[in-house]
């Protein structure tokens, strides 16, 4: 049985969207059904005539000026042959799903996107939603979270050590920004939680770069007088980071960066939070460490799942550590300037000169403890990925001396 629906647009204006009401009335109409539209806007007829043409719907004007639109003869064209994107993450994301949200119908005939990371097993961990929510809730504002007005250390040597460490942190955090940013563009957006987490990780690193740069005063205008010696960016440091930036495999990059690199960095940031001579440095280190802990948790959860699904990944991870060690064997590792700076920072006692032997010995011991703590942390994480105690100890020992 055909239906005839009446739409009264008296008082409604066609140039204020009244055609939407007609479209809505037509939406559930079947073949032979009609919508009769009456109204007092002079543009009613030409507007609805154009609408009917665009919809492929029959159109007539009755003697009293009412417009009669039939149901479109092509109502479901865009839904025919479409692909329904599953609401839960699929094992394989189809290139034609493209950027579509999960749970939507993708019109047939659209473009295919070449996202290299389209397998769930390569990117997924069940921890994603929790880690993302945690990250989103833990964002902090560099302008207000850091007590920027607090004084710096009045010992020039210790202050120079802090600046050197900040410069070193900036280049390491830049690598930590580039790696997730690159993979973010390679992950199929079907796995939106992975994208979101990598994006927020990237934003975390952007903030770290900002606060470390600002603490160092590297880009601040200088007053009169001789410029202090600029901090050094070494061949060994950059070569080590380049091997991270260049790593093309998501799992291996995640392993080297998050599990080994950022894991070690976590110890370093906590070290700075404990020993730094001023409140600003302690605050930037503490806040960055909070973020890095999440990055390590994601990397670890992702690789725990992957190694459980595919035990053959473990030898590949081990091989990556060996390869990186071999590639960096000819470099000097952690630059002496950073090592010395850490000793100076940890050994500094208020009202005692920076180069005081007692202070240096104290700092030296603290840095030795730091290195041991980093090693212990790496071994714990490696064991979580299924490496034996001996394997974990051997692999940890091969980790770059540049820490990251």
């Amino acid at each position: 049985m055909t239906r005839r629906r009446v739409v009264d647009l008296t008082g409604a204006r066609m140039d204020q969207g009244a055609a939407l009401i007609v479209r809505h009335a037509l939406a559930d109409m079947g073949p032979g059904d009609e919508v009769r539209v009456v109204g007092d806007d002079a543009s009613l007829v030409p507007t609805l005539r154009a609408l009917a043409r665009a919809l492929g719907a029959p159109f007539t004007v009755e003697a009293d000026g009412a417009c009669v639109l039939g149901a479109s003869t092509h109502p479901d064209g865009r839904r025919t042959g479409g692909m329904l994107v599953p609401t839960a993450p699929a094992d394989h994301a189809h290139p034609r799903w493209g950027l579509a949200a999960r749970g939507t119908l993708v019109e047939a005939g659209g473009p295919e996107f070449a996202f290299p990371l389209a397998e769930k097993r390569a990117v997924w961990t069940d921890e994603l939603a929790r880690l993302y929510a945690q990250a989103a809730a833990a964002q902090w504002d560099p302008a207000t979270a850091i007590p920027w007005a607090e004084p710096r250390c009045d010992d020039d040597a210790v202050e120079a050590a802090v600046v050197q460490v900040m410069a070193y942190l900036v280049e390491n955090e830049t690598a930590a920004l580039l790696v997730p940013a690159r993979f973010c563009a390679q992950v199929h957006p079907h796995f939106r939680e992975v994208l979101q987490l990598l994006a927020i990780q990237t934003a975390d690193e952007a903030r770290h770069i900002e606060v470390f740069t600002r603490r160092a005063g590297l880009e601040a205008p200088r007053g009169p007088g001789p410029a202090p010696m600029p901090p050094l960016s070494t061949v060994g440091g950059q070569t080590s980071l380049k091997s991270l930036v260049d790593e093309p495999d998501f799992a291996l990059a995640s392993f080297l960066l998050s599990v080994l690199g950022e894991g070690s960095f976590l110890s370093l940031l906590r070290f700075l939070d404990r020993y730094a001579p001023d409140a600003v440095t302690r605050a930037v280190a503490r806040l960055a460490a909070q973020d890095e802990a999440r990055h390590v948790a994601f990397g670890l959860a992702h690789l725990e799942r992957q190694t459980a699904l595919d035990p053959s990944l473990r030898p590949q991870l081990a091989a990556a550590v060996h390869a990186r060690h071999d590639a960096l064997a000819h470099t000097a590792g952690l630059n002496a300037e950073v090592f010395d700076a850490l000793v100076l920072i940890a050994g500094h006692q208020p009202n005692r000169p920076a180069w005081d032997p007692v202070g240096i010995a104290t700092g030296w011991n603290a840095v030795q403890e730091l290195i041991a703590e980093m090693d212990a942390g790496r071994q714990v994480r490696l064991r979580r990925l299924g490496f034996s105690g001996a394997e974990a100890a051997a692999l940890s020992a091969l980790h770059t001396r540049n820490f990251m």
């Binding site: 030409p46 043409r53 665009a54 492929g56 025919t80």
Partner: protein
């Protein structure tokens, strides 16, 4: 053997995409097909009579031109297919809300139209006004033309948008556009709600058609038409092309929707010089 050759006017860069797509579709379905793009409809009509092309994708004015030339030369032009969206269009004469209340009130006022050769934005609405007693024609001093891309017979939307802007700025007192652009200009924000009012609407008319002349090879033409009518908006591959051309289904050609334009051409002498020139060439 020569392929079946279509002529079309390059009024927009997408025309290449459209006919490249149709070429792939036709050839995948066994019709040897090629196309030639023309800068303007006059060159296309001329080439059609010279045998350069087998079928012309003609504007309504190009159809009237072809039909008149064919009649004068003792030949026969036929409209063999058109889009569903080519049928039953109207044009509107817009005024500002507080503007003239009747067509007679337009006497002595400035009327903004599209390009001089646009059926929908110039010839048909001016005919409507002239037949309702107003002294207007495309060269009348009170008619303000927006000659965007003359030769493309108003296929380009620009002339109509300029006419509406002139109306909104107060440079003219009325503007003539096709019905579909009324909604489009409102939606895109060119026209704000409540600013303009429809003063008059033309009777329904038809727009483009595929035109063939007598002597066109029957077999490829039949295949061409069968493939056109076989396109379905429900199928992704053909829907892409149909969306680009702005239709949901092809219809058999009809010529009943060109009578008003034919009257406009007679009244305004629009096609006379071109038709005479082509007839003289034989």
């Amino acid at each position: 053997m020569r392929p079946f050759i279509l002529g079309a006017v390059a009024y927009d860069p997408k025309v290449v995409t459209i006919w490249d797509g149709f070429k792939l579709y036709f050839e995948a379905n066994g019709l040897s097909f090629d196309y030639v793009l023309f800068h303007n409809y006059e060159r296309q009509v001329e080439a059609h009579f010279a045998g350069v092309i087998d079928v012309a994708w003609n504007s309504p004015l190009a159809w009237v031109q072809a039909q008149r030339i064919a009649t004068r030369l003792g030949r026969r032009a036929q409209a063999v297919a058109m889009r569903d969206t080519d049928q039953d269009l109207t044009s509107v004469v817009l005024v500002r809300t507080e503007g003239p209340a009747t067509i007679a009130d337009l006497t002595g006022r400035r009327i903004g139209v599209g390009a001089m050769d646009s059926p929908q934005a110039t010839l048909l609405p001016l005919l409507q006004l002239a037949e309702r007693g107003l002294d207007v024609h495309p060269d009348h001093p009170n008619v303000v033309r927006h000659d965007v891309l003359v030769g493309k017979h108003g296929d380009h939307i620009g002339g109509e948008r300029e006419a509406v802007r002139a109306l909104l700025h107060g440079d003219v007192d009325a503007a003539c556009i096709i019905d579909g652009n009324l909604a489009a200009f409102t939606q895109e924000g060119t026209v704000r709600a409540g600013a303009l009012r429809v003063l008059a609407t033309t009777p329904a008319y038809d727009h483009c058609n595929f035109t063939v002349l007598d002597g066109t090879a029957t077999r490829p033409l039949t295949r061409f038409l069968a493939l056109l009518h076989g396109m379905s908006w429900g199928e992704a591959d053909t829907r892409r092309l149909m969306d680009l051309e702005g239709l949901k289904a092809w219809r058999p050609g009809r010529t009943t929707g060109y009578s008003a334009l034919d009257r406009a051409c007679t009244r305004f002498g629009t096609a006379d010089a071109f038709v005479a020139q082509q007839v003289a060439r034989g």
